[in-house]
Amino acid sequence: MLAYVVRRLLLMFPILLGLSLLVFLFVRALPGGPAIALLGERANDQSIEQINEALGLDQPVHVQYGRYLKNVASGDLGASVRTRQPVTDELARRFPATVELSIAAMFFAILLGIPLGFIAAKRYGGILDNASLVASLIGVSIPVFFLALLLKYLFAVKLGWLPTIGRLSLTEQLDHPTNFYIVDAIVTGNWSALRDALEHLVLPAIALGTIPLAIVARITRAATLDVLSEDYVRTARAKGLDPRVVDRRHVLKNAMLPVVTVIGLQTGLLLTGAVLTETVFAWPGLGTLVLDAIRFRDYAVLQGGILFFAVVFVVVNLLVDISYAFLNPRIRYR
């Protein structure tokens, strides 16, 4: 097991190296280039040359890539041309927002999806089963941003129950030791800010969590159906075990492996959904950071943001693979 984890960690390096090359080439391929982006209308041949020289863009490409790698390895992702802030600072501020949103969305999906799928399987073929199937199919067919807009319209614009933008009302004062607002509020004992932050979190989390909810429910249903027909379940029932104990200990536990797989896969996809959800609710996370970077041709931020996104994605996938082994002793990694 340990050997497997170590090997997977080592395998991450070629992937990250490949990614850095990909991102490097991507930024070089962008139309315009940083000199023109910086200078805008004032660009002329001489000034472009000066800036390219200052940024080292007059060097051969492999030299540039070498220096870029060295910088990335030492944690220097450059600075935003727009805010003049180091990209790493921007990422540190934005990342917790995306994580907070993703965790809330996943909570919503798991807490509702597993019971829903389980009940549907127990009542196989019944009205509830069919209703949940239809609901989950609609759930996977709704584009995230459309659902987000509908929720915003209904609960924020029409009913006025919940806030529509950002993570916190302007009227709230909150210190940010961690930048996870929920954690910040609890740590500093700021209960009105906690309530406010939670209210801001509800709609984006539901919007982002609906597709995973639909998928988790469907997989739970399918896996439960499979397990329900296993011999050991019949045996457990036959020897007179309390049906609730059979459900919990024999059925649910064994049905969870494919569910965990899917939850893991969905966590990766959440990052994509987050880009769109964050846009609708003006959530200051990684997604809006990258999109703003594209809009303002902020290359350093774009490059750092995409690289960071990918690193998170790769790490999440690794964690998912490792968690299988803990859940299913039958899987032995070598």
Partner: protein, 298 residues
Amino acid sequence: MSITEAEAAQLSFERPSGLWADAWDRFKRNPAALVGIVLIVVFILAAIFAAQIAPFEPNEQAGPLATNPAGPGGEHLLGLDMQGRDVFTRILFGARLSLLVGLVSVSVGLALGLVLGSLAGYLGGRVDFAIMRVMDLMLSVPGLLLAIALVTVMGRGLISIMLAVGIVQVPTFARLLRGSILGQREADYVLAARSVGVPGRRVLLGHILPNSIAPVIVQATLAMATAIIEVAALSFVGLGPNDPRLPEWGKMLAENANRLQQSVHLVLFPGLAIVFSTLGINLIGDGLREAIDPKLKT
């Protein structure tokens, strides 16, 4: 005891039904899949006959310019947009665009994925390693982000958007086909074909591929839905087709996203068009999957 030749001639043998006939039989009996077919037929008819059905031209000013355009009612079934264009008409013409985008981008993804996946699966060794590592790399970036990056580089023309969405799907197809081929490569019928001297290329194209293609077809159907949503999503983040006249559903929705309060119909109807078309495709895809592999319950 034996039968005479005359008796044997009278015995009729039913031809064993094939994989596809069986699959079609199961598909027909799946109500959800039939609903999907209906949705998609409506969608395709709307696309083909948009010009005949639509009461106006997609870019015709059919009503007054307005900051708060009229909602559904009267001669405008789904209301007007800010430029006074008929929303129903634009949604009909949008079906053309979505159908086109879905077909083209999935074809791109499928074609590249098939070539790479079958090369990797059939040749194995270093070719396999090289191809699959590149696929891993592409999969290590979230799909939409990869599409965003590609469109930023290639520009916001319709062609480059379709290409970008297609390229994002390549690794999925390549992986699927490779896995499927690896499962078939050592099968007895492949060995048999090889041993009678069938050349390698024909073993791959004539024997292995047809037997590995079923999961790929299912995936291609579902990928159509993903492609339609992805193009709409690109529009939503401001990277949609740059021609303002194109009635792309995602763009129609995005342009009015911050005007929910005043004119919700401008967001609602294009959104519903996306939902129903992708729902139809997903229903068909699920039906196909169950029909082709009845053991799968997901």
